[in-house]
């Protein structure tokens, strides 16, 4: 039996892990993780692969490096190879309102957004590419938007943010994102870009409120503007420094409250709404209802609250 070979770059990320698991569940597919391969091994793996998936998540540097390695290896290969590149909604920068895939980035752009834009530019050089721009990934395994948020809610460090939480929270349940990647692998829509997030997203306030209730972290606290500024402007930098230095000790790490970065405050207020019509119509995607997704996330991260 000839098995289809699929190479997953960024297989250590929550998304990459789940994509790999989903692929390996199919006996007709030989799914390989690319992360630990050296340059030569990667080139060889790329050559052998029928489909490539770049699901790298993490810092701006990690995204740039992983994309650079993969695309270098891919250059010169047969143009028929499908590349599914998972980017981010951050490529829209400070845009507000309804954003479809043709919306241009709005300055200022942070390092993270710039890294994703650069990676997308590279990816667009491959004719069989499909780019996915997910919103905020949540669910089991999503440390950034479910794990740490659960910890913040549990310690009443966030909650109802008032006007600061009026931005749209373009959530994408992690299993939906996996389905989006699998759909993009087979889609005839080569050269297309797709926003992927639930349609009719909640505001950040609604998300935080519903998640807190699912976690049992109630009653939800109304944050004063003073407190919110203190957390995200004055406490965040020293907590981050502490996390990177003394926080390397597991004992101290447990005692340290995780910082709430200023970028999170900005995101919570940003009234950007992803237009996901193309993903629904062309990739045939539908979305896990929020309440079901939150229940799954709360099951995964409920221990944070109980502790």
């Amino acid at each position: 039996m000839i098995r289809e070979k699929i190479l997953v770059n960024g297989a250590a990320s929550p998304l990459g892990r789940r994509v790999l698991d989903a692929l390996r569940a199919n006996q007709h597919i030989n799914a390989v993780a690319a992360d630990r391969l050296n340059r030569e091994a990667l080139r060889s793996a790329v050559r052998d692969a029928d489909i490539l998936i770049n699901a790298t998540m993490g810092s701006a540097a990690a995204i740039s490096l992983a994309a650079k390695r993969l695309f270098e290896a891919l250059r010169g290969e047969a143009p028929s190879k499908r590349l599914v590149h998972v980017s981010s909604m951050t490529v829209y920068g400070n845009a507000i309102g309804q954003c479809n895939e043709t919306t241009l980035p709005v300055e200022p752009l942070g390092k993270y957004a710039s890294a994703h834009i650069a990676a997308e530019t590279e990816a667009k050089g491959f004719s069989q590419m499909v780019i996915l721009r997910p919103g905020v990934e949540y669910g089991p395994g999503c440390e950034a938007w479910s794990g740490r948020v659960a910890a913040w809610l549990a310690h009443r460090r966030i909650g109802d943010l008032g006007a600061g939480g009026d931005g749209y929270c373009n959530l994408i349940f992690i299993d939906d994102l996996v389905r989006a990647v699998l759909a993009a692998m087979r889609s005839p829509a080569a050269g297309r870009v797709f926003n992927v997030a639930m349609a009719g997203p909640p505001t950040w306030n609604e998300y935080l409120m519903a998640y807190a209730i699912a976690l049992g972290a109630t009653p939800v606290r109304r944050m004063t503007r003073r407190r919110w500024t203190l957390e995200t402007t004055f406490l965040a930098p020293p907590l981050k420094v502490a996390e990177l230095t003394v926080g390397r000790s597991p004992f101290i790490a447990r005692q340290l409250p995780p910082p709430i970065p200023p970028s999170f405050r900005h995101l919570c207020a940003q009234e950007i709404r992803l237009d996901v019509t193309a993903a629904e119509e062309i990739l045939g995607l539908n979305w896990t209802p929020l309440i079901a997704g939150l229940r799954a996330a709360a099951t995964a991260y409920g221990l944070v609250v109980r502790r």
Partner: protein
């Protein structure tokens, strides 16, 4: 976008599809709901971002009986956000019975029913930041729900219904960032509506004339116009515009300004509970969303029908603050601190008792002999009210003696003789000031009297305690603080018959095709419920209606 009249040249003309006058709870709600729609929207506000004495003074007017009603420039604010900048935040929806024609309430019956408004309540609740649209203990607290008084049962009163409390949300502060955005809605500050110009037939608004206190003029032309100026000002504007209709716009049948209602409220009696203090829970509980909620004794619809009385609710309350005989350090502290408390919350700190030097000394003694109680209360108020964004709604003092009074809030019957009319004096813009002649009926006293009798009967029958009060004093207590402040209802009532109402089921004037009224002015009956939540819900309903109408054009 937020603009000021200073941004325009004198005699400038400005156009929009929908023009809303008044940026309070109703006006801001409509504007927010219309953001992103295909219509251009103008929202005019008389005031600025803060209270300005000269602008606020435009609200001044006369009161026929000053004992029964507060001055017209109190309990309302002429600035961006309107009276939401000072409101108390109590939210509750109207009940289905409130919309019905009740033969025992002359003038009752809305041209719409509860289910016409119900679809808008959830969003109204969200805008008021009152959490989920869940107004029963079961829906809010589930199995964790507690009774107000363990052991109290009644065939006529329910205790599982809640009132929820907004932060209280100042709509200007909370939603200002949305109004400032670049979209189809423009807000113009310092624009006072002085003239509603009708066409030759008097059936269509042609334009609005607006002025600033500095004398600048502005003309606004639109497709549809909405007066969202509050219950008193809507009547004033309609009555003051007499160019085409000598009695005022929409007032061919002398209805505008009449049927003016507030609520019938007061505090009465003493109830000594026989059960343990732990069996009485009269305070606030926080819902899972973090909203303060409070249970009350609600007179069931079946009892209202059987007795032929209006709607009524009651809460357990602390003794009268002004009387130092309560011996509570907290209440005396409040009494002594009354100069620091805003006017709108001061009313119950004034009274015939408590004013003598001897009483004052007794209040001081109460504070001095209860320093821990007073200090802990002060800390609670600073932390949970002054510094908090979601403010602890009111003073709650649990009586160690298990002794409380009854605070009631009841429907006021519609009464054509209770009215808002124009005074002979004019304001700085030459607009006639208003004169308020608020009146109540024997039926209002009867509603409270009978409802209290039933409550006292059921306390006694349940064996939890006895409510003692003097039935002869019910009317005295109702009028002790006069009409309930800030609830201005019924002055442009909704109905199907132009002979007995001003606006139709869509809040449009019967007499003028493109003029609407948003706010509690359109309520034909007052219910027992505080009006803001329903004002917001009806504003959302009106916004949806206008969007539909514009789409049909």
């Amino acid at each position: 976008m937020l603009l000021d009249t200073t941004d325009f040249p004198d005699d400038h003309e400005i156009r929009a599809d929908i023009i809303i006058v008044g940026a309070g709870a109703a006006g801001i709600t409509m504007a927010l709901d219309l953001i992103g729609s295909k219509q251009s929207v103008l929202l005019f506000e008389s005031g600025g971002l803060e209270e300005e004495p000269a602008t606020q003074h435009l609200y001044a007017g006369a009161v026929v009986n000053a004992r029964l009603h507060s001055p017209p420039d109190r309990y309302r604010q002429r600035r961006l956000g309107g009276t939401t900048t000072i409101w108390g935040g109590r939210c509750m929806p109207l009940d289905p019975i409130d919309f019905e024609v009740r033969d025992y309430v002359p003038g009752s019956g809305w041209p719409i029913i509860y289910t016409d408004v119900e679809p808008f309540y959830a969003r109204a609740n969200a805008l008021c930041e009152a959490g989920a649209f869940a107004y029963t203990t079961d829906a809010t607290f589930g199995p964790a729900a507690l009774p107000i008084v363990a052991g109290f049962t009644s065939p006529d009163y329910s205790t599982h219904r809640l009132e929820r409390f907004s932060c209280p949300t100042n709509f200007a502060a909370r939603y200002g960032h949305k109004l400032r955005g670049r979209h189809n809605v423009q807000v113009v500050l310092h624009a006072n509506l002085t003239q509603i110009v009708l066409d030759e037939n008097g059936t269509q608004v042609r334009q609005l004339l607006l002025r600033t206190l500095s004398g600048k003029r502005l003309t606004a032309r639109g497709g549809r116009y909405v007066l969202a100026t509050g219950g008193l000002e809507a009547a004033r504007l309609l009555l003051a515009n007499r160019d085409r209709h000598p009695r005022g716009i929409g007032n061919q049948h002398d209805i505008v300004g009449r049927y003016y209602m507030c609520h019938v409220a007061g505090t009465i009696g003493a109830i000594q509970f026989a059960c343990p203090t732990s069996a009485v829970y009269r305070g606030y509980r926080m819902s899972p969303e973090g909203v303060y909620c409070r249970q009350r004794f609600s007179l069931e619809e079946s009892a209202q029908r059987r007795e032929g009385i209006g709607s009524f609710i009651a809460r357990l309350h602390h003794p009268r603050i002004t009387d130092p005989a309560h011996r509570s350090a907290i209440l005396s502290l409040l009494y002594l601190a009354k100069p620091l408390i805003p006017y709108e919350y001061q009313q119950r700190l004034h009274g015939a008792d408590g004013n003598s030097p001897g009483d004052w000394l007794r209040h001081v003694t109460n504070v001095v002999t209860g320093p821990v109680e007073a200090a802990s209360f002060t800390w609670h108020m600073v932390r949970d009210r002054m510094l908090a964004e979601r403010k602890f709604p009111s003073i709650i003092i649990n009586s160690k003696a298990n002794l409380y009074s009854i605070d009631f809030h009841a429907e006021q019957y519609p009464n054509a003789a209770s009215r808002v009319l124009l005074d002979d004096t004019v304001d700085a813009l030459g607009m006639p000031r208003i004169k308020i002649d608020w009146r109540y009926l024997p039926e209002d006293v009867h509603t409270v009297s009978r409802a209290l009798e039933i409550l006292a009967r059921d306390f006694a029958a349940s064996g939890v305690g006895r409510l003692h009060y003097d039935p002869a004093l019910v009317e005295t207590e109702i009028t002790r603080y006069g009409a309930y402040g800030g609830h201005h209802i019924g002055t442009a009532r909704m109905g199907s018959d132009p002979r007995s109402s001003v606006v139709d089921a869509n809040c449009r004037l019967h007499a003028v095709n493109n003029l609407y009224v948003a706010g509690s002015a359109v309520f034909p009956t007052s219910s027992q419920a505080n009006p803001t939540l329903t004002i917001v819900a009806l504003a959302l309903r009106l916004a949806a209606h206008l969007s539909r109408m514009e789409a049909l054009r």
